[in-house]
């Protein structure tokens, strides 16, 4: 296995395009090395992107935030403006593994690993995050929900590299939240999860909302019906029950070692309700 650590994006793309065998990108490595170890993959080339320029930066601009693909999750929580703007996204990133994993794992890697249970993805989806993709065809921006096409598969082509995740500035009076269910208090993969972002209008009525669920389908799913269930409400019990019902209806999970169809479906609704309540509370407090 060859290991390369290019210092320009062009070089990285060329390496990926030029490899005849199996080539993989290494960002945090917390999934890649586990898959190598388990012999699920046997790379001929690993391209480490951590030494590319701007990979390690979180940049704030007028339009929002750009999080480099090499930024470890732990760095998100240390960025105060980001925590204030997107607490749900930061919390989701904080849930990816232990402190040790946090020191290496990245949200770009979490996205590109294409697990339906990826913690950061529902939060990014409801935050309308975009992935910056650089490849042989140049640079483009894609909504994060357009990256993953199924368990372990993405829409990215050979040589395409996600170099950053971009988040907009949150609208006024908005809030986001992410919750997942795991059997232990730490160290597990989500059995199911829910991300909610919402914006309030006059009298704290929900004006806009996005609800996404994780680990209940082949990919993270955005559930517009669930969002509609709370738009125009102040999250009264009835609205929350309708939100949960819409979420349950959107679930098509599998039975596996981590959970059952019935369990995932029911708890996804519970988490969506709870996440919505947190997001609502955050939105109310925010000017």
């Amino acid at each position: 296995m060859r290991y390369e650590s290019p210092t320009s994006i062009r070089e990285a793309v060329a390496l990926m395009v030029g490899e005849r065998g199996d080539a993989y990108l290494l960002a945090g490595g917390t999934d890649l090395l586990v898959r190598m170890r388990g012999e699920f993959i046997d790379p001929d080339l690993v391209v480490d992107i951590k030494r590319l320029p701007r990979m390690q930066e979180i940049r704030k601009s007028a339009s929002g935030f750009s999080i480099g693909a090499g930024v470890p999750c732990v760095a998100l929580a240390r960025n105060k403006p980001l925590v204030r703007a997107w607490p749900g996204v930061v919390e989701a990133a904080q849930l990816i593994g232990s402190d040790q994993i946090q020191g290496r794992s990245t949200i770009a890697g979490n996205l590109c690993n294409a697990s339906p249970a990826a913690d950061s993805v529902p939060a990014l989806v409801v935050a309308k995050a975009k992935a910056v993709v650089v490849g042989p065809g140049g640079r483009r921006r894609l909504a994060v929900e357009r990256i993953v096409t199924g368990p372990g598969t993405t829409s990215l082509g050979k040589g395409d590299i996600v170099t950053a995740i971009v988040l907009p500035n949150p609208p006024a009076k908005s809030g986001d939240a992410y919750l997942r269910f795991i059997p232990r208090s730490e160290m597990d993969i989500a059995v199911c999860s829910a991300g909610v972002s919402l914006t309030l209008g006059a009298r704290n009525v929900v004006k806009q909302a996005r609800v996404a669920l994780g680990a209940v389908a082949r990919t993270v799913v955005l559930v517009p019906q669930a969002a509609r269930a709370i738009v125009g409400t102040r999250l009264e019990d009835d609205a929350l029950m309708q939100l949960a019902a819409a979420c349950e209806a959107a679930c098509s999970p599998i039975d596996d070692k981590r959970g059952t169809v019935a369990y995932r479906t029911e708890v996804a609704g519970v988490l969506a309700r709870r996440a919505a309540a947190i997001a609502y509370d955050r939105a109310r407090r925010r000017r």
Partner: protein, 752 residues
Amino acid sequence: MTHDSKFTNQKFNLVGTRVKRPDGVDKVTGRARYGADTFAPGQLVGAILRSPHAHAKIRRIDTRRAEKLKGVKAVITSADLPDLTDGDDELYDILENCMARGRALYDGHAVAAVAALDAETAREALQLIKVDYKALPHVTDVDEAMKPGAPIIQPRVRTKDKPGKPTNIAGVATYGHGDIDAGFEQAEVIIEKSYKTEQVHQGYIEPHACLASVGPDGQGELWVTTQGPFAYRNTCATLLGMEMSQLKVTSSEIGGGFGGKTHVWAEPVALALSRKANRPVKLVMSREDVFRASGPASSTSINVKLGATRDGRIIAADAVLRYSDGAFPGIWGEIGAMAAWACYDIENVRSVGYDVIVNRPKVAAYRAPSAPMAAFAIESTVTLMAEELGIDPVEFRLRNAAREGTRASYGPTYGPIGLVPTLEAVKNHPHMRARLGKNQGRGVACGFWFNFGGQTCADLTIGADGTVTLSVGTVDVGGARASLSLIAAEELGIPYEQVRCNIADTASLGHNDMTDGSRGTFSSGMAAIFAARDAIEQLRARAAKAWDIDVQNVSWKNGRAMAKGKRKSLTLRELAEASANTGGPVSGHSQVVPDGAGVSFASHICDVEVDPETGATKVVRYTVVQDAGKAVHPDYVEGQFQGGAAQGIGWALNEEYVYGEDGRLQNAGFLDYRIPVCSDLPFIDTQILEIPNPNHPYGIRGVGETSIVPPLAAVASAVSDAAGVRMTHVPMSPPRILAAIKSSRDRQALAG
């Protein structure tokens, strides 16, 4: 408290103090050497190819391409481990478990092995070995394996009728006394309940690892993480056709065992690779290997029937316990049947244990093996009965508890035992009066373990400066060197710091049984006492010689020889310095078979909080009360209590082997085999009771195992109290709890 008071007033100077362990600095600085931490010149890396099938015939293994790969120095199959077991079935099973012989019996069964220059080459070589399997029907569930028509795994196992038919039931054992039918006739309340527990693993953090070296002269050395270097030596030497004295086994520091390192797994393979390559071979299991191919504990299926009178007396008790043994016959069901009713004084009692062969890895001991599952079923039912009768569960247990003179359900009549004192302590514990919050519940349960002694010897040598080396043959799994040094220093009357305890290799001390059955401090402690006394005899004789008086007139006190009429005493150091001229070095020795380990009891209290919407359970408070006989080093006694409780909590809530329809293990890793993490647990309060064991000079009882017995039931009763549903399937994972809550609601809705 009613117990033998013979030793209660024994005064100790050192025993019972919390000294620092002698191996501590090495362990906090990273210097301590465990199984994988040693290196030999020219060593190769060993690796094992494992069966991907739960049950298969192995038609052919083609190793030619692997042998030709550059850097590969040896490739072996079962052909390189000929059968030398001489008709000993148990030994043959160990041999076959180490390396499949024409058939693979579980997912992960070793099929071939290689030794190569490095890990990368070894990995490639494994990929080049081609095995032609014919998959056979498999069965992994204990109840399914007992059904007529289930795939037969061990054709040599037959039913008892003549002519015997092949069966997966390796044994049936019945224990108990009285007249069960008459007992249930008299019972005013009868409760019947069925339970299931899933397979769990000891989960020691250090995988199995060894460094093996065998030369063409038939001499060999094995550095290995083990609970029993002598047992490993004997087994490996026999399987390899070596003379026992020619194989020196050195136990490394051990990174946890809990019973899982009482059995050889890959060690004979490492030795065979080394012999073939004529070079040292290091073989380290991956975590996946550990889960798939070392010995987990049984999964079980248990039925309990309990009969009591309205005034709270259990008068009839019956249990049928089915334990999976893995792919080879075991005695785990029988032990479960023996332990089942041990906490109670019951006139009419029976337990029937079934040992069942399934296509899973060979079961090994796990801390009080077989007792926790039985206790889960029985203690849960006992609590149900108390609730049914409207009697406090602790009070109900006290009314029925075994005590001195009780005929134990497994046969013998108890001597002085500590169950009632642990229950009294629970009754009076502040934990029992603490208020419970919303969605919280409390459970109480008892536990029992046999404990045993076993073959033990110790050497105690006195250096020229009067300091002492104590050599023992029981592996130190968690602080025993400190405890044993305390004991030797106590007996000699010298400071703790002047004794250094050392774990001997098999060439340096006589045979010692393994560190199992909670015997380490009990047995080696006894051997240390007698070895010290042996040395004291010699020291007195040396002093007598120096003073030219009769040895009868010399006494030993506070680390020195004294005699009437002698103003000056002789210190250990002075006697040691003079030893060259008084008869040579002084060393004490003892060998004992310290039976009478003294059975052990514990009672636990558990508080949990259950999220009724997700079924998630959080243990919010936990208390362990256990009889230690005499706590030699209280820190490590507490540590045993806490560690066992934590393992039991993990077993109760989240740990389980998950097998697919294909008979393959789906969660062979710490990600999905969920042992408790730090944030899952509260502080675990402990209360040590000291009810001296009359069979030990210091009153010591084994303390290591009992603490894992009560938690399954304690947690289950707490969950039941919090969520209003009785859980009968362990682990009580969130999906199982939520499903139970929902079906209980449905039932109530129907009833309402």
